[in-house]
Homo-oligomer: 271 residues x 2
Amino acid sequence: MAQSYPIDIPSPDFDVGDPAATRRAIRDGRFTGFTNLVARDFVQGNLVAVPEAHADAFELYCRSNPQALPILGRSEPGSRTIPALAADLDLARDTGGYMVFRDGELAETPRDASHAWRDDLVSFVLGCSFSFEAILQAHGVRLRHLDEGNVSAMYETTRDTVPVGPFSGKLIVSMRALSPTDAIRATILSARYPRYHGAPVSLGLPEDLGIADLANSYGGHGLTRLNPGELPVFWACGATGQNAMRNARLPLCITHYKAHMVVTDLRLPKD
Amino acid sequence: MAQSYPIDIPSPDFDVGDPAATRRAIRDGRFTGFTNLVARDFVQGNLVAVPEAHADAFELYCRSNPQALPILGRSEPGSRTIPALAADLDLARDTGGYMVFRDGELAETPRDASHAWRDDLVSFVLGCSFSFEAILQAHGVRLRHLDEGNVSAMYETTRDTVPVGPFSGKLIVSMRALSPTDAIRATILSARYPRYHGAPVSLGLPEDLGIADLANSYGGHGLTRLNPGELPVFWACGATGQNAMRNARLPLCITHYKAHMVVTDLRLPKD
């Protein structure tokens, strides 16, 4: 599918459909926005970088909770790239927004994480629902949060993930407000893509996930208000991994900052 | 999948899993119940028999509204069988319940329609959601209406069908009360089976289909009350054809009676 969605970048000086150009623009500080409306024909992912001592346990945690944490790639210890995702990828600079956690507490949110990187960090890139939003739109699903220049809201649920070693916690979900017709279409389409969270985990009834108030989103951002005729549709979210990492109180962990994802060179399927 | 669902027939004297034995038991008056819990490994269908003069228009009406009216078979004029569906099928006797319409008005509801049959009638057998209920259950979807010995409720919607010749009218839907998890699962599964209505047409919000009150079902039967934690999920329904035929005020039309379907020898897919 072609890059067809308008993005609100005044006179971008890079090709917003090209993932390498997008990464360079982010790295150079020429693009600082959310990545949900750039490089839309390509897979985007969550970043979680953990010390090597915890990497195998974290990988097993991901594999035990594959709907939330589908692994797109794992780096060698100390490496800031994953060649299978993009030849020129610099994981410490290319998202344009980072969260650095020390002992489970958020220590800083730099645009560039090079200074905090360590030689023993192992990076995981995990599937992200931004990847299927372009596919949904190409099939006629209206994503109002994008029309409004917003991102999908996230929520902490009352569903436990499968714990592994120090990693545990509740499932985090993303929510999109959809018409019933689009909810059905989006369910069928997203089910085809388990590498970007697959089918929704719930819809229609927030209480099914223990969500008491849609206005109270995880991180406090995203489209939370439903219009008449819309249903909330919930997908498992890669932020589940951040949550588990915080619970594990690792000495150091670096993740992407909200809606600033790893843009890869992996092309989305055309259908 | 094996015949695994208990059915409330005291000491049935026939093999409830065998479609030919089921048809014989219906024909002989030994089984008079709904067909939704018998011959569950086999496709069931709606019956609409119209005078030959209207058959081609009705076929085109079905093909113009394929989600509601998927054609499984069409008989030769005057023939009471469709060999491709079952070798020994007698469409005038094998459903065990009929509605005979004259000039669009319900004239009688006999158990056997032989006396009303005419040499110029052409029969259509149209896909029915009973066919996918067994598939849903085999995949763990709870169908409470079956647990309660009931059938799915039907509703007249405000959505127009595509009119053809004398045939027109609103879309009729069937409704199942499902948990959000099961609504998602049922959506993905039923989408695989366009010959039995495919994916739902709506869910969650009855007003999306112009349904003001779930208690007010089409025909006044079926499970209509939602429990907490359940969503209404709506599929296009073959009763749409009955409705269009009534609107067309044909001199004669014979259909099956509610929940007394044509049981075929077509085996359901195993997956």
